[in-house]
Subunit: 218 residues, 2 copies
DNA sequence: CGGGCACTTGAGGACGTTCAAGGAGGGTGG
DNA sequence: CCACCCTCCTTGAACGTCCTCAAGTGCCCG
């Protein structure tokens, strides 16, 4: 039932997995629905089983920051309050747990508790990368970073085929740019022979070394 | 010895505090020294007693992102690897603990463990605000945000006197701007009657409502 | 087939950066 | 104690990157 590749279930024994399974509920969303919304109590923890989503923050004047793209195995709701909304990009399936149940089980099973710690740590590491990106990087560097990020995190992605589950607007709001700038950056990267696009949402990295150099923080 | 106002020591009993004190070492730094540096193992946890510091990430081409300003009561080193360096802005005193000692004690004392969780949560909340700031906000909005942030976090700061412990460059690198833009933004805010500067590093907010409106995310 | 949405492309403009100069404050050595 | 220097800050001018506005294309779905 549960995928041990997920950071939450990693290295858990059968007993732990069964306990978790007992308290989980499958939650299924279609495209463009909200799993949870900004500034409400976080009653549940979700672990994504399939599909893709975004964590976003929207202000009253319409500006929107995509905080993270979310993929299978990712965990949502480990904080007491949601500081963001989570919206599905594709049909989405997730396992829902009561937050206090997770807290309870993590006291009992130290491996679960360790997993939770390492998830939080990874979230922080990702956010630090993104802070650097938004504060310091140029538009085309940001796009390269996103491509490599997706290459790492998207299930089934390979250098010669990255299927983007999000629109250009989602990419723009993640990168702190406009749709037009993202589009132009992609065009430019294509012109320079660094990437190729077979379809609108299918990309290939043809010059991984250069793309990595542009994306990297060092 | 320890200040219960710090998020780490909050609501701890005398026994807990004594156990911690037993395992702590005072670490004193002068101006512009490193408490810890990027990409090294985090052996120690530090809690700031006095002074101010920055958490920063520097790339090989010289670009620098200030990830956070650090003030008394703040805790550093709760992750296994430092993804950043911490540099003192002023003379700095901190209490140093071995990381595994903290982990050990937090298993024993649940209030300590709770404190650690809430610290991590607060760190994430701050970072989310900053992501929105860097991705979406205009220069003068960023400066307003920083002023309010300092008003909340700087010990001794009040609406009519905020003593900035950092240079304009630190502010710029925190806000994803250049020194010149920060300087111009401050000049503009002064001209509009929103703030006043008595000295270079002393500011007063004269129109809190407007500043708040500009800084806010909603 | 038509309409709507997403994407691309172009032109113009704004915001922030870069480059450059000048001023103010603090520390050091004469 | 003053002169000098260095660092930090401000201000100006020119430039560039990215944004805004606008038009046009392609694709999906009804």
């Amino acid at each position: 039932m549960f995928d041990r590749n997920s950071a939450l279930f990693k290295a858990l024994g059968d007993e732990e997995l069964e306990s978790l399974a007992k308290h989980s509920r499958l939650k299924v969303l279609s495209k463009h629905q909200y799993l949870c919304t900004q500034y409400t109590d976080a009653q549940y923890v979700y672990i994504i089983a399939s599909g893709a989503a975004v964590a976003e923050r929207v202000s009253s004047d319409g500006r929107r920051q995509v905080l993270s793209f979310i993929f299978p195995g990712d965990v949502i709701g480990l904080t007491y309050h949601h500081e963001f909304s989570v919206k599905s990009l594709t049909p989405l399936t997730s396992h829902q747990f009561r937050q206090n149940k997770i807290a309870e089980l993590s006291e009992k099973y130290s491996s679960l508790s360790d997993n939770l710690s390492s998830i939080r740590e990874r979230v922080i590491a990702l956010m630090l990368d993104q802070l650097y990106l938004l504060g310091q990087k140029k538009a085309h560097e940001r796009v390269c970073f996103l491509l490599l990020h997706l290459l790492k995190r998207l299930p089934g992605a390979s250098v010669d085929n990255i299927e983007l589950p999000m629109t250009r607007l989602d990419m723009a709001d993640y990168l702190g740019l406009t749709v037009e700038t993202v589009s132009r950056s992609i065009t430019k990267l294509k012109a320079e022979g660094l990437i190729e696009t077979t379809e609108l949402h299918s990309m290939a990295i043809t010059d991984l070394e250069t793309v990595t150099k542009l994306a990297d923080i060092n």
